[in-house]
């Protein structure tokens, strides 16, 4: 359990590392959960991290394996690059293959092959198999360790057979297969515990097993687990043979990862950008998106440029321009967030797209009329020019309508194009609302210039 506040632990750990007081360091760490050690490591420099990792390795290899599993694959790989082949092999043999594969993949090719060659045959094969599947699929996150027995086995034989297998960590189900090794059912360990010893598995198993394929997108796997309240979901190949199991802890990681990705992609941010990265690394990651933003942000200036003549004649128009633009952006961002999130949690499939569009447009017009009337009226009281009030109100109505239209269409079109629905959506939206805001407001201003 977390006993001391993290900041005290961090400062003590750093002090011990830098003093070289390694046994005091281990005294501090030894009762920590592996997850706590790994979150402590996030706050250390790479040199400190390596020292702490080595101390843990010397004292408790099993725990070091656990720590490795809890680290982000990037962080784990950067530590392993500094270790000896023997150490790495030893660690990789301790951790499940679904945790080893993503780390291994980040190591240099040559190193990767020496490790796979040095590992024992079974774990090495398991890892190689996982690496065959594409990233972000069920095949990549599944564990090849699970309990599976013939459905004609009886309960007491099943328990004995399971005991003889190597311990399947975090197993909550026993899967049942037929003569041809096809998945036919599932028995929870609780059912097994309460069943009579001579009952056959096929008499207690649940037959409608929800399963996925190795190619299934990890986000879809997460949806099944979340929607059907599962703790694990079996992965079967095209012959319905069981090849692995995705457990709920991996699903939680997927859900958090995808939520981060949605938010990051909305605001045009690289999904690997982290607060722990060096400024230089983050600049490198953000610059491409800012260059893209120069392009999207340049449309509005072009529009404004065409109305320079109007502005010269009535400069007050410029004062209200940022207001029209900003409110379009706010309303459009609301729509984007709703659509992106509904797509992510799977409530809107294409069936709802037309309905969603219609609804958001109605909301855009409704809000536009209210906000437009308020601001139009307010500006009239301020400037005493009814035409300016009218122009401002109309520009806001039109811009909020466009914000709703574009805010709904951007994620839907991105999805149709098989891109991420959130990708750069806020930038694209701002491009539209800024330029349409300028176009309608300055355009109307030009039309009514004689009245202003």
């Amino acid at each position: 359990m977390r006993v001391q506040p993290l900041r005290i632990v961090i400062s003590s750990a750093r002090k011990f590392i830098n003093m070289g007081a390694l046994s005091r360091l281990w005294n501090l760490l030894k009762n920590f959960h592996a997850a706590d050690i790994s979150s402590l490591m996030k706050h250390l420099t790479s040199r400190e991290r390596l020292i702490l990792f080595n101390v843990t390795f010397d004292q408790d290899k099993g725990k070091t394996g656990e720590v490795l599993r809890e680290l982000e694959p990037e962080d784990a790989a950067s530590i392993l690059r500094e270790l000896h082949l023997k150490q790495i092999t030893e660690l990789f043999q301790m951790i499940p293959s679904d945790d080893a594969a993503p780390i291994l993949e980040l190591l240099p090719d040559e190193m990767k092959e020496s490790i796979l060659a040095a590992m024992e045959e079974k774990p090495s094969e398991d890892v190689k198999e996982l690496l065959l599947y594409e990233e972000e699929t069920a095949g990549r996150i599944m564990s090849p360790d699970f309990y599976a027995l013939d459905h004609n086995t009886n309960v007491s034989d099943a328990i004995t057979a399971m005991q003889l297998e190597r311990d399947v960590e975090s197993a909550f189900y026993l899967y049942t297969i037929d003569e041809k090794s096809r998945l036919v059912g599932v028995v929870s360990l609780r059912q097994l515990l309460f069943a009579r010893p001579n009952t056959k598995l096929k008499d207690i198993m649940t037959k409608d097993v929800i399963s996925v394929h190795p190619e299934t997108d990890q986000e879809e796997v997460a949806r099944y687990v979340a929607d059907y309240n599962l703790v694990a979901i079996p992965v079967v190949d095209s012959e319905n043979t069981l090849v692995g199991v995705v457990t709920v802890d991996d699903v939680i990681d997927v859900i958090e990862e995808e939520a981060t990705e949605d938010m990051y992609k909305m605001v045009s941010l690289d999904t690997t950008d982290r607060i722990q990265d060096s400024p230089f690394k983050s600049i490198k990651k953000r610059i491409p998106f800012l260059l893209f933003s120069i392009i999207t942000a340049s449309l509005a200036p072009v529009v404004v440029h065409y109305f320079e003549g109007t502005i010269e004649q009535f400069v007050k128009l410029v004062v209200f321009l940022p207001l029209v633009m900003a409110l379009g952006g706010v309303a459009g961002n609301q729509t984007i967030a709703i659509i992106v999130r509904e797509i992510a949690i799977g409530q809107t499939e294409w069936v709802g797209a037309r309905k969603a569009l219609f609804k958001e447009i109605m909301v855009g017009i409704g809000n536009g009329v209210i906000i437009g009337a308020i601001l139009g009226g307010f500006s009239y009281l301020l400037i005493k020019n009814p035409y300016l009030g009218f122009i401002l109100g109309m520009a806001i109505i039109i811009n909020l309508f466009v914000a709703a239209l574009v805010g709904t269409l951007i994620p839907l079109v991105l999805k149709l194009l098989r891109l991420d629905p959130a990708l750069g959506s806020v930038n694209l939206l701002t491009m539209c609302t800024d330029s349409v805001g300028a176009l309608t407001f300055l355009g109307l201003g030009t039309l009514f210039l004689s009245k202003l």
Copy 2:
């Protein structure tokens, strides 16, 4: 399993409902998982929804209970309001109290009391107890059903005792308690299955049990379950007596809910706003935020107003103003997204705030210099005025610096004020970047006016 595409299911279901072909409707539904029926219901009108719910209730009460659990509490409550007290009571007795409580709370007080009075004593008490805890705490989402036995019990007695209890759905652990009913350990059902019958629980139990209190914030509960890869976490009172268990399926709901909330609060959206809401309902939810946006969006116009004189003399400045504003917004949104997400997934506690601020400021300056140089150079090529190029470049550097500063501080200060770190953050940021952008660009323009 999902066999037919959702859109076909929806249109068939609606057809059958509106034709009154209720037995055909049931034929369509009967093999569906409860989660699928509930997601189908999201696409129906409230009249259709009620008919479908009643058909399911008539045919399979158990499944109807499941469906009720899968619905959003708001949707469930709106259906229950139309049912008879007897029906409601029957349903509530079937579903776990942690699912019943949030629905019950949305019903009118009088109805709520009649239901609690009509329910059997035990479930009624369980629900009342959950309602004592505040919303969004462990107490609210925990289930009061779990297996707990004295740690001196031996394995075979434990299994018999568990069998005699009413079935604890989705139980994966047996908790062990001492003479004073205090939680002392946990045994997984897998360990129980493989242990010798006469082993005492205390000899196989894991002693360091990670637990939470009923008042613990649900987000913190979710962090423990996610970080320590748990499937359930026990809830204990101040005497360390076990009062409930939060299971991973509820934790997944919390994680998704919080991710939605973060994104919604960032863009100033009510967290209950849904695509299925009527336009009128959504307008009502969004107007308060848009009114707040009028205030935040009004600062930039005030700034621009002060520079009307400058603009009259050199109108070209206005053309580039939207560019300065937009790029500040883009860079600031990136920073906000990073900080909000890091706070949410618990990687940055206060220990990292100063570091985060320093890092983002470095990134802001770095990106500002690069983007400022590009745009300054580009505008020089376009307009052939070196002063304009310089002003534009400088304004962008300053605005990206401010974006980084404000983008980091807004979520951190909101958190310090014990508000949600994401709350209205994008609006507040835009207020700053729009006005600072206008101030620096038009201010510098005024200074160098004679050279433009």
